[in-house]
């Protein structure tokens, strides 16, 4: 009698186990479902007030939000800045980036002002837009189309640069041009990133010289010679 009870319980347990495991795989959508993103919110201090770095999605947490199909990731730095940053102890080169971010230099999108005098001029060539008198003016017929292609309005947009400044400028520009402010995040600066998705570009050779593996960078090149100036 006892043996029969034990056997019955055993069959019941096995049945529950099989049923439970099967149900998990049949009905559980959580593996493919993207987690809801928090609404953009600026962080504390001047990082938030002046540069607009996000409180929830920033250098410390961006690893949790990479690889989303509903998002794009843009790094706003130049590969090599023509400004003389060595004069002030800086590094003109994009020495690394976060995996998944694609580079589109802000200075190609809009004119950059306010650099220290020792630097001289950064990139002063053609730009898609000119910011003057509080307005963004398209310089080319294709300017807005290019912007909409690189920063799709139906996607979440994660912006990053070296120290959050260019990313902040880009976010302000997109919002000004009617992008949804609740879909744009200033993730902050690569210099503060200590996550697990760092891609090193700068590399020291055996002879001590330094080289840059720019071939690793997904780069949006804008060839202004193929664009049509607005008259």
């Amino acid at each position: 009698m006892i043996k029969k009870i034990i056997m019955g319980l055993g069959v019941l347990l096995v049945g529950l186990l099989i049923g439970g495991v099967s149900s998990h795989y049949l009905f559980n959508e959580s593996d493919n479902k993207l987690k809801e993103l928090p609404t953009p919110e600026v962080t504390d201090g001047i990082r938030g007030e002046q540069f607009g770095v996000d409180k929830n999605i920033n250098e410390s947490t961006i690893d949790n939000y990479l690889g989303r199909g509903d998002s794009v990731y843009r790094d706003m730095r130049l590969l090599v800045d023509p400004g003389n940053y060595e004069a002030i102890g800086g590094d003109s080169y994009l020495s690394g980036f976060v995996q998944g971010f694609e580079v589109i230099p802000l200075p190609y999108v809009v004119n950059v002002t306010g650099l220290p005098s020792e630097v001289g001029d950064t990139y002063t060539g053609n730009t898609l837009f000119t910011y003057a008198d509080g307005k963004y003016i398209a310089n080319y017929e294709e300017s807005m189309s290019i912007l909409e292609y690189i920063f799709p309005k139906d996607k979440y947009i994660f912006l990053m640069c070296g120290g959050a400044g260019y990313a902040g400028m880009m976010k302000n520009m997109l919002i000004e041009l009617s992008w949804d402010k609740d879909k744009i995040y200033n993730v902050g600066g690569y210099w503060f990133y200590e996550g697990n998705n760092n891609v090193e570009v700068k590399r020291e050779l055996e002879d001590g010289k330094v080289t840059y593996d720019f071939w690793k960078v997904a780069y949006h090149d804008i060839d202004f010679s193929n664009l049509h100036k607005v008259s």
Partner: protein, 151 residues
Amino acid sequence: MKKIIAIIVIIVLLIVVGISTYKYLDNKPFNIDKEYYGTGEIIEIDYEELDKILSEKKSFGLFIYQPLCGTSYNFESVVTNFSEENNVTFYKIAYSAIKEEYVGKTLKYYPSFALINKGKIKEFLRSDSNEDIYYYSEEGFTEWFNKYITN
């Protein structure tokens, strides 16, 4: 039993007095070395130079910035104006040069300004603190600086 309680109370009081005294001394204003007065300059240094100055236990002001990306420019003008108006020389260093070092890990973000007393960071501006936002302005920086520096 009463003796034990009395001893414990005395020990606790001594600890409290000790902590209070330490806090008082730690927050006491200090002097920047005289060699930094006379001209108002911002001198760029690298980490080797900073390490040397710290090991010499000097007292000075250090502006931490990073070229590119637009982040430090506004505050840099605040620091530069203060330096010129008060004839005090500060050092400045790129964050990238100290990022992996103790100084960079202590400051955590840029732009920042650190007051160094005898080779040790005494106080610094936190760019991730709401309380420090005001001190990044001209008026605020003067107030903050004079709070910790007596000369």
